[in-house]
């Protein structure tokens, strides 16, 4: 029974993925892409990887969806959202089939896993969720550099702004019609999302959740508020936003240096201090992740009505 369910789910994922690539119209492809992300999140839940399922639904389907929809809106204003229908491309089809078949072959040729068992080391990490233990303790390097990649991408994005637009509010102007869906959603959803996002971060220490998932929910709250005109759109020059951007990586780096001075090495956490340290780093990191994601999704400052 569960095999039939999984096969039906995978067929749906592939069908929606095919519609994203081969369907007609860029806007429709974006909608299919969002659906694809949600179906894939169900797939992750079926695999038992609930932390990944949350990240997939919140980041891949949610935030990437908003990003692509806003991009489509901007391209339409620039009259660049149209495209010619897909023409069959035989060499591309051969390359794609070859890569897919090679990956399929690799699956059956893979040796059985002999991964180290983490359950023995888990009590040392200070948290009960093994994924959080890997992200913030055993492989903290990856997470630190990931936070810095987010910042680098944001700086790259801001480099694309025109000089005369530098002081403008970031992103597109949104006008929420008074009494409309967006205006009421913008007031109803944020409090719920705020509680849910903070809960995800706190719960992430012991069960499903974590700084990235929680931060993404908080970013979504912030985006909805900006789109509904409840919050003013941020500007690059505002010091509070800049401080929020570097706060998380800064706390993370400082704790890493403290580990190098007082414990075994850079980013090493002594077991008795691990839990408070991880919770502190996660709280700071969540703030910075949320702010960075908001600024990444709303994009560089807009030139107002000039490019309409």
């Amino acid at each position: 029974m569960s095999l039939v369910l999984d096969m039906a789910l995978c067929a749906l994922i592939l069908g929606v993925g095919l519609a994203t690539v081969a369907g007609h119209g860029v806007f429709r492809a974006v909608i299919f892409f969002i659906t694809y992300g949600l179906l894939l999140a169900i797939g992750w839940a079926r695999l038992g990887a609930y932390d990944v399922a949350l990240a997939e639904a919140a980041i891949s389907a949610g935030l990437t969806g908003v990003l692509l929809l806003a991009a489509h809106g901007r391209l339409r204003r620039l009259r660049a959202a149209e495209e010619a229908p897909l023409r069959p491309n035989l060499p591309a089809a051969l390359v794609a089939t070859g890569i897919a078949l090679a990956l399929g072959w690799a699956w059956f040729a893979l040796p059985d896993p002999t991964a180290p068992d983490l359950t023995a080391a888990l009590p040392q990490s200070g948290v009960g969720n093994p994924v959080t233990a890997v992200l913030l303790n055993f492989r903290a390097w990856d997470t630190l550099l990931e936070a810095i990649i987010l910042l680098a991408a944001l700086i790259g994005l801001w480099m694309l702004a025109r000089d005369r637009a530098w002081d403008n509010p970031l992103g597109l102007r949104y006008h929420a019609r008074a009494g409309g869906v967006m205006a009421s959603f913008g007031r109803v959803l944020p409090p719920i999302g705020l509680i849910f996002g903070i809960y995800l971060v706190w719960a992430g220490a012991e069960m499903t959740g974590g700084a990235f998932q929680g931060g993404t929910v908080l970013a979504a709250v912030c985006l909805v508020s900006i789109m509904a005109d409840v919050l003013p759109a941020p500007r690059i020059a505002q010091p509070a936003w800049r401080l929020a951007l570097v706060f998380g990586p800064g706390v993370f780096l400082l704790s890493g240096v403290a580990g190098a001075v007082f414990a075994q090495g850079f980013l090493a956490l002594p077991p008795e201090l691990a839990k408070p340290a991880i919770v502190t780093i996660e709280a700071a990191l969540t703030l910075s992740i949320a702010v960075t994601l908001v600024l990444l999704v709303i994009g560089p400052p807009d030139e107002g009505g000039q490019d309409a």
């Binding site: 995978c10 994203t20 990887a49 980041i59 010619a84 897909l86 990956l103 992200l135 492989r139 990856d142």
Partner: protein, 100 residues
């Protein structure tokens, strides 16, 4: 058996993404195709990490890192596409705009 279904789906998604990345000329399509490749690989990797006894948390943590990095790369790519459209009036690469 169920893991094989997910792994082969991942492999097929990578193929779909590669096809879209080459055959579609609109750059927003290419960003989506690139994301399909990424998520297909994550699915393959996740299924591989779920073999044996229980779920291995290390691949899961790496996949979450990958998802976040994919979003930041997509955001930068979207910014570049909008800048391209602003300066050239089209969201296709110059040498491919004629093929559309």
């Amino acid at each position: 058996m169920n893991l094989t279904v997910f792994a082969l789906t991942g492999a097929a998604l990578v193929g779909l993404g590669v096809y879209g990345l080459i055959a579609r000329v609109h750059m927003l399509r290419r960003i989506m195709a690139f994301n399909l490749i990424g998520s297909g690989l994550f699915l393959f990797f996740g299924a591989a990490g779920a073999r044996g006894v229980g779920l291995d948390p290390i691949p899961q943590a790496l996949i979450i890192t990958g998802i976040v990095v994919a979003l930041s790369a997509s955001a930068l790519a979207v910014g570049l596409v909008v800048a391209l459209a602003r300066s050239s009036g089209t969201a296709c690469l110059p040498d491919e705009a004629g093929d559309t």
